[in-house]
Symmetry: C2
Subunit: 178 residues, 2 copies
């Protein structure tokens, strides 16, 4: 029944209506409250599922560490395939702006998931890098995808993705001494 995860990513939190989620699961609207207390509860469960997916895709699947990890993760995340498949992509890109306008319960759940992801990133970047760089890596990836999705022409989207890939890849790199 977590078609919710797909619809939240495709259409945002307000766009993922109870009707449509239940319909996508082959059920009718009324039965919803046998599974969730609330629409918010559904969104929170969808967050958990999609962040788990992200952990698998970006951390468990990429064996490298440090700079090499950052480079491979950025290359995997900032692709046209990801651009074109929001329903199977990053939930932060799709829903963070909605979460920002939502009730504290949802924001709390979101924060917890983000912190978990940052902790994993930090571990991967490890040597010589701080949590700060893990956060910056995530923010750069998210910002890049948000902008690439919003733009009209494919060529412009590609330019944005390329710029983001370069910037994010460099984050694990030892800092210039100056």
């Amino acid at each position: 029944v977590k078609q919710a995860a797909r619809l939240v990513r495709e259409r945002g939190v307000p766009g993922a209506s109870v009707n449509d989620v239940m319909g996508a699961a082959g059920l009718t609207r009324g039965g919803f409250y046998a599974h969730f207390t609330d629409k918010t509860a559904m969104v929170i469960e969808a967050l958990a599922a999609t962040f788990a997916e992200a952990r698998t895709n970006l951390v468990e699947t990429i064996p490298e560490e440090g700079e090499a990890w950052a480079s491979r993760a950025a290359d995997k995340y900032l692709t046209e395939a990801h651009l074109d498949a929001p329903g199977r992509g990053c939930v932060i890109v799709a829903a963070a702006a909605d979460v920002a306008r939502s009730e504290p319960a949802l924001r709390k759940a979101f924060q917890q998931e983000v912190e978990g992801l940052v902790a994993l990133f930090d571990q991967k970047l490890s040597d010589g890098c701080s949590r700060e760089e893990a956060v910056a890596f995530l923010a750069t990836c998210v910002g890049t995808m948000v902008m690439a999705r919003a733009v009209h022409d494919r060529s412009v989207a590609r330019e944005i993705l390329a710029a983001g890939r370069r910037a994010a890849s460099g984050i694990g790199r030892a800092k210039p001494r100056r």
Copy 2:
């Protein structure tokens, strides 16, 4: 009548209802179509107004160039004041995800505005920097603010802002030689 600009940034595109915009302007719902052909047309005008604001705040107001500009612009953009005042803040943060799900006309207008802003950033970064770095600068700032807004605790938001500030400030910097 561009209270629209404020409401789009506070509540997103679907959240800025025709009723509320007209109400905020002291008018009633029916008169809307004497000013705009469409809700989309209103959003497009709101975009134009808010991007103009951004150009003033981040380019015209900051005389420095190159690395110093990036540093000052990031410090100005990634503040708690901006975090707390979405209605007077960056429209990309508030609405890019909505634009990504909207009709081509809106996406086209958004793209044009983004390109204008990137061109200005590029000019400011000028020596030794490419358009690519102007794009990365913008993406990093946007991603940072999006995440900082969505998180629940002030302390976490502050951490994210600080990380973004550091990453964005470094973007005008001469690259390490390696």
